[in-house]
Assembly symmetry: C2
């Protein structure tokens, strides 16, 4: 994995020769980059994560789904049959919008969350990350504002930054985004003469917050957004991975003309084909297709047909039930270990998805603590990764999706050791992250 070049990124000499003369000879093209590139940074924790991938480290950092239980033997046969019967189609260019049969199947999946969509309003993308990129591309000019929950998915914040947009956070609590707070944030923006281009929200089993937007609040969030003329970008990779009860109705099911909905096969099947989708109001969908054709010509036919085959020939809903059972067990392991080993912290208890959001005791800083955690063979993501403004140092995200329950417990135990040593230091010397406690409120920890 790469790290950031070390030359200063201030001067912008206009020729390679001038760049070299200015001491940036490590990169002769340094003076040629676009403004958006000058704001592009490798994560500061990236080098650390290269270490964290060593097998002796318990990583509670990643968001990799556990796909070990997929029926791989049978699936291999099905893919081989696909190539034998439709190989020249699977290996050829396809439609920019995506395979029509897969788009039809996608509408059936979305129906499970109450969405009544037409396949013509679906665009297949290279994972839902590409959908985030395309939506940003068609809506965001440099300096534009959007509203996102506090905290928000780190990958979305990176996309918004790459389009040089300003992210304003709106607080969540244990029931998700707070409509009154959203109203306040949008009103304050209006007072500054700004209208947010969209609201970015992960309503179900929030990454990283671990909370879910309550059914009661959903129409209220829509009402607030609509009153302010703000489009909603509903990112929903985890919606079918609730541990109990039925999926909540998507925002897109309640306000199809006001919502761009993003879905993905990465968590309900597997991420390796990089297939996700966007459902959008018709005119927006047209723009998304044009933007996608410019970006990649067309999504992979081979990937789409392989997923379409999985959906039609396997009991994918039974597999999702199995995933739910497995992830619920891991959630229980993590929450149990937190109660046992980290009584001085507070945390959210997710009803689905992959993540627990932990608040550290007063005085501790998750980012400063990370190198010591990795030394103690446990990794997490510091809360700062999930705020656009550098706040969030009193939080950390723990994921329970990939390690076994035993490893999760061991990871939390190791984390407790680091935390206790850290707390002792703070007690002795009074150092720590207290001065940084200025984050927009994350989900309330009182649900723990």
């Amino acid at each position: 994995m790469s790290t950031e070049p070390t030359q200063p990124e201030t001067a912008t000499p206009t020729t390679p020769a001038a760049a070299a003369a200015a001491g940036t000879r490590l990169d002769p093209w340094f003076g040629s980059y676009s403004a958006r590139t000058r704001g592009m940074k490798a994560s500061e924790i990236r080098a650390l994560f290269a270490v964290a991938n060593r097998p002796e480290v318990v990583s509670l950092a990643g968001g990799m789904p556990n796909i070990a239980d997929l029926p791989m033997e049978d699936y291999a046969d099905a893919v081989a049959d696909l190539l034998r019967s439709q190989g020249t189609r699977a290996l050829q260019y396809g439609s920019g919008q995506g395979d029509p049969v897969l788009r039809e199947q996608i509408t059936e999946i979305m129906a499970l969350e109450g969405i009544n969509a037409h396949p013509d309003d679906v665009v297949v993308t290279t994972g839902s990350q590409q959908a985030l990129d395309l939506v940003s591309r068609i809506f965001l000019d440099p300096g534009d504002v959007l509203v996102a929950e506090a905290p928000s998915y780190v990958g979305a914040l990176g996309v918004f930054r790459s389009y040089e947009a300003e992210v304003v956070h709106a607080p969540m609590d244990a029931h998700g985004l707070v409509p009154e707070e959203l109203d306040r944030v949008l009103t304050e923006l209006a007072a500054r003469g700004k209208r947010a281009k969209f609201l970015y929200t992960v309503p179900n089993f929030h990454n990283p917050g671990g909370v879910t937007l309550s059914l009661e609040r959903r129409p209220r969030v829509i009402e607030v957004a609509r009153r302010h003329g703000v489009l909603i970008l509903e990112d929903n990779p985890y919606g079918l991975l609730g541990f109990e009860g039925e999926p909540l109705p998507a925002l897109a099911s309640m306000a199809p003309e006001d919502v761009i909905y993003l879905g993905s096969f990465s968590k309900t099947f597997a991420p390796g084909y990089r297939v996700g989708w966007a459902l959008a109001p018709h005119a927006v969908r047209e723009k998304l297709v044009l933007a996608s054709e410019s970006a990649i010509l067309c999504p992979s036919n081979a990937a789409q047909l392989a997923i379409s085959t999985y959906l039609s020939q396997f009991d994918w809903q039974a597999q999702v039930k199995e995933y739910r059972r497995m992830y619920a067990e891991r959630r229980d392991a993590m929450v149990g270990a937190l109660a046992e080993y980290l009584p001085t912290c507070s945390w959210t208890v997710p009803e689905g998805g992959f993540y627990v959001w932990v608040r550290l005791p007063e005085g501790l800083d998750a980012r400063e603590m990370l190198p010591r955690a990795v030394t103690a063979l446990v990794a997490y993501v510091p809360g700062t990764a999930f705020y656009a403004d550098g706040s969030g140092s009193e939080y950390l995200r723990l994921s329970y999706c990939y390690p076994t329950p035993e490893r999760i417990v061991e990871g939390v135990r190791r984390l407790a050791g680091v935390l206790n040593a850290e707390a002792e230091l703070v007690g002795l010397f009074g150092t720590g992250g207290t001065s940084r406690r200025t984050s927009v409120d994350g989900p309330s920890p009182d649900v723990s």
Copy 2:
């Protein structure tokens, strides 16, 4: 496929309500789009091509490779074995830069064109279209200038337009880009106070020009670019598809610090996995990886491992030889038919690749003629698609990659009927495209 919404794209009301009031009620989010989206247009010939895809039409328009002769049975078995033995890796997230084994294999492929590259300087992309997008993303600010051959690949022009860049064309002749003309164009830019961010060039079997940059000119093009401080973007999907002799050395083999080289499996194997790559100077490669992670997180592991399997378990170079033989036969069919049926036109005779570039006789306009051609059941791409400035109407691109030799001959015969009827009209009424004959010179037709 989509068509462009019909509302005017001039006013930009600031709220959905205002947009509706302004008569744009077809799209409530019309006022929210970014500047780059307002410049985004569906091709005017798109609707026509939907018709041209009917089986009774001979399409000489598309660039789809003919992959019917791939060893599909054996390949299906190999992919099934891959899923059985490495399924949980193939279906999992991967590295943002791309699979290390595939990157090693890619360096071996590039060695065939004299490139001595390290796998660490290779980035795997979602087809080389994504590489074009990423390079544009990291280098182009709105208003920036780049130089591209006249004519240039339509998909690249679309990307450059989406980044709001200005394309300045530099003339080609039968031996490819003319170094003296490139020097003149860059000198004129300098006089305007502009430095081109890069030179976009397709040196081998040009799309759409059908010509190849001569060996003698290659160091001269590099010298000119270097003297003006201009990076070279070498797009080379067809380099291994020459009909005779050995591949020419890539520009990247002669000036690795001055060139970003783009490669693709779409033409040497198959396009359906959407796997291409960029080789870039190290510091640029770092930016490309960060940009790609923002755009798609990571390329598809399943696609990369499937291609890696093909490269290691099949005699892919023998398959490329077979492709060459097949495409040479089709080139011969097309050139023979042109000589027989279209003696009033002139054309390039490609030594590889997929395309012939045809110049119409005085007075004819390829864009105006296209609907009549489709009615006569033959399709092509008008030259205007390959110029950023709307010129090129006296040219058209014919591709011989996908139809059989018999269909190619029949297509050219039909085209001749359209052309003769058109020429008669021009003779009778004096209408036609003469007033548009202001294109920057395309490849000289004197090689025909």
